[in-house]
């Protein structure tokens, strides 16, 4: 019964998610179904564009690769938020937060759950994109690793932030979380260079770590010079955003304990 970070408590959070997944196909399906549909849709779009575009031009690594990586980020974020929503839906906050479980252990459990579910999604996407549409992830070389790492870290940061938002605003605010990736995608330059955007959108884009990934990805495919410094900047930004999101969650939790919101969460009221 130690007071420090206890891996068994984290395992308890993860095990709950595993039990839920194991007994519920409706929970397993979304981990890969929507991303698979995206890959199929964009796979055919790129195949069509290749057939009508300039001979030799290959849209697969730019368009399909971008879709795949953006979907990976979305899955990571939703992996965190859905694990949190399970406690919202089951009205389990009192049972969870009246235990020795710390906020760090709880959030770690959510993040590790997301690692598992997003790897499943990534594997399915890779299988489809490679097997059906001839996509090669390795066309990005070793940069694939930092690319995925930045997207993963940003997905975690945004997932934790979204959980903090739902904790603060109540269960109904869950609906604000689902469209977040779609809302950010125009600013992150998933399919086009940031320079395409008006200055104010570029400014926001520079605050989003994925924009450095997609700029780098396009530079490699086009055979242009690639800026490591820029990618490292994106990595540092993503790490800083995780720290900020974790601080935000802890602050929201502290406020919810002070105001009584946590004890009466389902009422969405502190009055």
């Amino acid at each position: 019964m130690s007071a420090g970070f206890n891996p068994r408590r984290v395992a308890g959070v993860i095990l709950r998610q595993y039990y839920l997944m194991r007994s519920s196909p409706t929970r397993v399906l979304p981990t890969f179904a929507w991303v698979a549909i995206d890959i199929v849709l964009w796979g055919f779009i790129t195949r069509y564009l290749n057939s009508v575009g300039t001979p030799g031009m290959n849209f697969v690594p730019t368009l399909l690769g971008a879709v795949l990586m953006w979907d990976f980020f979305s899955r990571v974020m939703q992996g965190v938020t859905v694990a949190f929503f399970e406690d919202v839906w089951a009205r389990n906050f009192l049972n969870i937060f009246a235990t020795p479980l710390s906020i760090g252990e709880y959030v770690s459990g959510l993040v590790l759950t997301s690692v598992a579910t997003s790897i499943v999604g990534l594997a399915v996407m890779l299988l489809l994109a490679t097997g059906v549409f001839g996509f090669s992830f390795f066309s990005y070389g070793l940069l694939l690793i930092p690319f995925l790492l930045v997207l993963f870290l940003f997905g975690i940061a945004l997932g934790i932030l979204a959980c903090a938002m739902v904790l603060r605003l109540g269960p109904a605010s869950e609906w604000l979380v689902w469209p977040i990736p779609a809302l950010l995608s125009p600013f992150a330059g998933v399919f086009y260079p940031l320079a395409t955007l008006p200055p104010w959108m570029q400014w926001i884009g520079h605050l989003l770590p994925p924009s450095y990934v997609f700029e780098g990805m396009r530079a490699i495919v086009a055979g242009h010079g690639f800026s490591w410094a820029s990618l490292i900047g994106g990595l540092v930004l993503a790490i800083a955003q995780i720290v900020a999101a974790a601080w935000c969650f802890a602050a929201v939790h502290r406020k919810a304990v002070r105001s009584g919101l946590l004890a009466r969460y389902s009422a969405e009221s502190v009055s």
Binding site: A3, Y19, N95, A98
Partner: protein, 259 residues
């Protein structure tokens, strides 16, 4: 401070609540409440709806921060030593059922890990047997009856062999026979002298039967405290229920903290 041990030798209290206050804006939900609960004792926290009982329990559970005052569990401060304090505590409440989409065993396994219970599988089997849950081991909690769910909540509450057990209306909405069984289980828990129990209920019959001591709370303050068997006579009424109604209707006539 009101002691729960006036006639017996006084061991170190498991729960110590001191000058506890909780204020929401201009509303004072809990106003300067103090009491101790000793090991082996069952203390009843009684009062009308909105009196501040659940607010007090939420503060003891660390899910609600007091405006002022101090709560210690086995000497650990709930505010500053939360993990140590809550590792020694557990609870069952009618408004906090376990997730209905997990089976009885899965819920016990998950919460057993969260409470870092050693030799967990053996402990789970012991509790499943103790609370007569063998038939429901692999049933999802959501499909169980109220009484069965209460037994599962009690099994969860006993996972870490808590020094402090908080029970918020554990027999609400269950039939008299099941309620009697549950009262027996809780008496057995306290009887071994390891755990202290803080119990809220609106059933004065069971309070009188089970509790060693009661605290009457109204408008956030402790109005009366004492032995539930002798307290009505001391105040010139026939029963605990009558005393409850009188205290709830005329709280001012009881002053404050009549120990």
């Amino acid at each position: 401070m009101i002691s729960t041990m006036q006639t017996r030798e006084t061991p170190r209290p498991v729960l110590s609540v001191s000058a506890l206050r909780k204020q929401y804006g201009s509303t004072l939900a809990v106003d300067d409440i103090s009491f101790d609960v000793a090991p082996g004792h069952i203390v009843g926290l009684l009062g009308p709806n909105g009196a501040g009982k659940t607010t007090t329990i939420n503060m003891i559970l660390g899910v609600l921060a007091p405006s002022s005052g101090r709560i210690t569990i086995e000497g650990y401060d709930v505010t500053t030593q939360r993990a140590q304090a809550l590792a020694r505590t557990n609870f069952a409440a009618v408004y906090a059922p376990l997730p209905g989409n997990l089976t009885v065993r899965q819920n016990l396994k998950v919460f057993g890990l969260i409470y870092d219970v050693p030799d967990l599988d053996t402990r789970i089997e012991t509790l499943i047997e103790r609370f007569d849950l063998q038939r429901f081991r692999d049933a999802k909690c959501g499909v169980l009856s109220s009484g069965e769910q209460t037994r599962v909540c009690l099994a969860k509450a006993m996972l870490n062999a808590p020094r402090l057990l908080l029970l918020d209306e554990p027999t609400a909405s269950i039939d008299p026979a099941t309620a009697r069984d549950i009262r027996g289980m809780i008496r057995d828990i306290a009887a071994d002298g390891h755990s202290a129990v803080l119990w809220t209920s609106h059933n004065m019959y069971e309070v009188e039967e089970v509790c060693d001591r009661v605290l009457f709370v109204s408008r956030g303050r402790v109005l009366l405290a004492g032995d539930p068997k002798t307290l009505p006579g001391q105040h010139g009424v026939a029963s605990l229920e009558e005393l409850f109604i009188q205290a709830a209707n005329e709280p001012l006539s009881f002053g404050t903290q009549t120990a």
